[in-house]
Amino acid sequence: MTLLYFAWVREKVGTGSETIDLPDDVRDVAGLIRWLSARDEGYAAAFEKPELIRVAVDQDHAPHDTPVAGAREIAFFPPVTGG
């Protein structure tokens, strides 16, 4: 599974993309955020306030209770500020 990070989430995590093997006990986006937060200080800082994190599963906006099984690409980013 590919994980993507944008804007300040990318800066805090320290990378724009990575490939991971999803642990069996991670069921949904919220669980994935908890699992990532435990990896190191960068991830912990990026996901310190999960309510600020927006998520896209396979390029569609998705709430934190979205199941992650079968997803190919999950992206994490702050609320968008284009236009």
Binding site: L4, A7, Q59, A75, F77, V80, T81, G82, G83
Partner: protein, 153 residues
């Protein structure tokens, strides 16, 4: 269906001309151009960089445009958004709507901008005298997008 994401600048007049060329069934053309604004003083912005999510951006803009076409009788429309480093006065985004009716052209253009602000995966980082900072999303943008929830006006 015209959606473009590019780092190059765009020419508003040329984009409108391309959309209307050869057509005589259009009565109303509305364009919206968003530009980099420098408020000066303490809020002085020297430049900004627009980051986006390649792939999802195009998909999100195409979904927006499909929504607009489903809700209003549009003859054509264009959504064009830039990324990369931009300076004050530079163009950021262009929306053009063409319709037989002015109300439809106006409403669809405003809808596209309001929804783009909350759905298209772009992020602005400003360069100021104090260094760089990521622009924060505004609640007023959510409110503007929420106006269009439900049926077309």
């Amino acid at each position: 269906m015209v959606v473009r994401v590019q780092d190059e600048n765009f020419d508003i007049g040329a984009e409108i001309d391309a959309l209307r060329s050869g057509r005589t069934d259009i009565g109303a053309i509305v364009s919206f151009t968003g530009t980099v604004r420098d408020l000066g003083g303490e809020a002085h912005v020297a430049a900004m960089t627009l980051e986006h999510y390649p792939g999802m951006t195009e998909k999100a803009l195409e979904a927006l445009e499909a929504d607009a076409r489903a809700r209003w009788p549009l003859d054509d429309c264009l959504v064009l958004h830039r990324f990369g480093r931009l300076e004050p006065g530079d163009n950021i985004v262009l929306v053009v709507t063409l319709s037989a009716h002015r109300r439809a052209a106006f409403e669809a253009a405003e809808f596209l901008m309001d929804d783009l602000k909350t759905r298209a995966p772009f992020w602005k980082k400003e360069e100021t005298a104090d260094g760089t900072r990521w622009v924060e999303a505004r609640a007023s943008d959510d409110d503007a997008a929420a106006r269009w929830a439900g049926d077309a006006a």
